[in-house]
């Protein structure tokens, strides 16, 4: 009951920080999709690029998030605004699932279908946009789903460098040893993650080809 009252009393700030959180996750996911899908396509079509691209994305994934925020802090244009920095870091983390699933999705398209398309005289571009990407879409989307869920969690850490988001509550609560404050950040974050997971999962099933 106390918790509910606390939530009600602070609902304006909760909504504001949730919106900030969504913005961090949304923009970084969008960037990861814009960069990751083309990289996934390149590594699926030209095997030479497969190892370096996936390797680099893998290495980024292994850097602890707090350390990555720290590394990026001194970079001139980035370091001047915490949200830029947080978005870049989140984008880098989101790249791996997007690239890997794009790669897997395209490589998973039935070779007979691709060969038939090529034999019928589809150009590479037509083959990509009319055959490969549509057939890989549900696999790519499941990569985006993983990226979003991970980003929602990671974005709470962005508050450590002052980028805002629901992490503000959590860090404040930790400092003041106040569980209600921690939950005011953790619960909306969990709800965000679950609804993103559910919504994208539903979309993914709808787009899956029989």
């Amino acid at each position: 009951m106390n918790l509910l009252r606390f939530f009600w009393q602070n609902h304006e700030q909760i909504v504001e920080l949730t919106a900030e959180h969504l913005w961090l996750v949304g923009i970084s996911t969008l960037l990861a999709v814009l960069v990751g899908i083309p990289l996934g396509i390149v590594s699926a079509h030209w095997p030479v690029w497969n190892k370096p691209v996936l390797g680099a994305a893998n290495i980024i994934q292994t850097i602890p998030s707090l350390a990555l925020f720290g590394f990026l802090l001194p970079v001139p244009w980035l370091g001047s605004r915490a949200d830029r920095l947080a978005i870049l870091a989140l984008t880098l983390y989101a790249l791996l699932p997007v690239i890997r699933n794009t790669y897997t999705g395209i490589r998973g398209v039935d070779p007979a279908v691709v060969e038939a398309g090529r034999g019928m005289g589809l150009t590479d571009r037509q083959l990509l946009f009319q055959v490969e990407l549509p057939l890989a879409l549900s696999v790519i989307l499941s990569g985006v789903r993983v990226a979003v869920v991970v980003s929602v969690g990671l974005a709470t850490i962005a508050a450590a460098i002052g980028a805002g988001g629901l992490g503000e509550f959590i860090f404040r609560g930790l400092a003041m040893v106040n569980n209600q404050l921690i939950l005011a950040g953790a619960i909306p974050a969990a709800v965000l993650a679950l609804s993103a997971d559910f919504g994208l999962g539903w979309l993914e099933r709808r787009l899956r080809t029989p």
Partner: protein, 270 residues
């Protein structure tokens, strides 16, 4: 693309070899001509180079040496996309696009060639009728069809832009015996009406005898011999004889009699 006199071969292999990137040779010294309106069957075991030969025609593969000519022009020059669109292609796995309806599958090449929608639609109806499928099937997806229906759609799709040449890679291989028999019969009557130049790959002698005007026997990346069905049955060539032996009795009755050797063939009977 320049077109030679109509009596020249439609497809010609001139001393063609194909080598895999790892250096393994799949095909060598191939000289072969395919005449207008005939069904040339490439017969051989797996690994004999018959599919490789087929894919060299629409340049899904590029020869390591030698030349492949289609309508008198080397496939090495010119636009590979328009070459492929002028050649119908049917493969064993069919390769229907699972995310397209039957109508979109069949109408894809006309559509990307810029035909108006109404004309594409008409063409699809016409083709469905030609391969003896109900027009209701047009709105279905490939996974909702039976194997035989899928294969008919595959044939209809290959015929969509009315190509003069048709390449068929074991198109009936994965079908049950009854459906295969039916489709072979329909292929013959279709071929009788449309008079396409067909190159047909199979490992089934019975199918080769039944459908082929001529049979090109291949083994280990080489062309062994080219014979009419009737000649094939009487051939002294050891490999041809081995085939006839392996497939057993009753082959005479299936052999394609539309070829010029028919009388010959009858005289040759015991």
């Amino acid at each position: 693309m320049k077109t030679n006199a109509s009596d020249g071969p439609v497809i010609e292999f001139r001393d063609v070899a194909y080598v895999l990137p790892n250096g393994q040779s799949l095909l060598s010294g191939l000289n072969l001509e395919v005449r207008r309106g005939e069904t040339l069957v490439l017969l051989g075991r797996s690994g004999s180079g018959k599919t490789t030969t087929l894919k060299l025609i629409n340049r899904l593969l590029t020869p390591a040496s030698g030349e492949v000519l289609v309508n008198g022009a080397s496939t090495a020059h010119g636009d590979v996309i328009s070459l492929r669109r002028s050649i119908g292609y049917v493969i064993q796995e069919i390769g229907l696009f699972p995310h397209f309806t039957v109508e979109r599958n069949i109408g894809l090449v006309p559509q990307i060639e810029g035909w108006p929608a109404e004309r594409v639609h008409q063409r699809v109806e016409e083709l469905l009728q030609m391969v003896e499928l109900d027009s209701q099937i047009a709105t279905r997806y490939p996974h909702q069809l039976s194997g035989g229906q899928r294969q008919r759609v595959g044939v209809a799709r290959a015929l969509a832009a009315d190509p003069a040449i048709l390449l068929m890679d074991e198109p009936f291989g994965a079908l049950d015996a009854i459906t295969r028999d039916q489709l072979q019969r329909e292929f013959l009557s279709l071929q009788h009406r449309l008079n396409k130049t067909v190159v047909f790959v199979t490992h089934d002698l019975r199918e080769a005898l039944r459908l082929g005007s001529r049979i090109a026997l291949m083994e280990a990346g080489r062309l062994v011999t080219v014979l009419s069905p009737a000649e094939f049955l009487r051939s002294k060539d050891s490999l041809a004889a081995a085939y006839v032996h392996a497939f057993g009795d009753g082959l005479e009755s299936v052999a394609n009699r539309s070829d010029s050797n028919r009388d010959d063939f009858n005289r040759g009977r015991p």
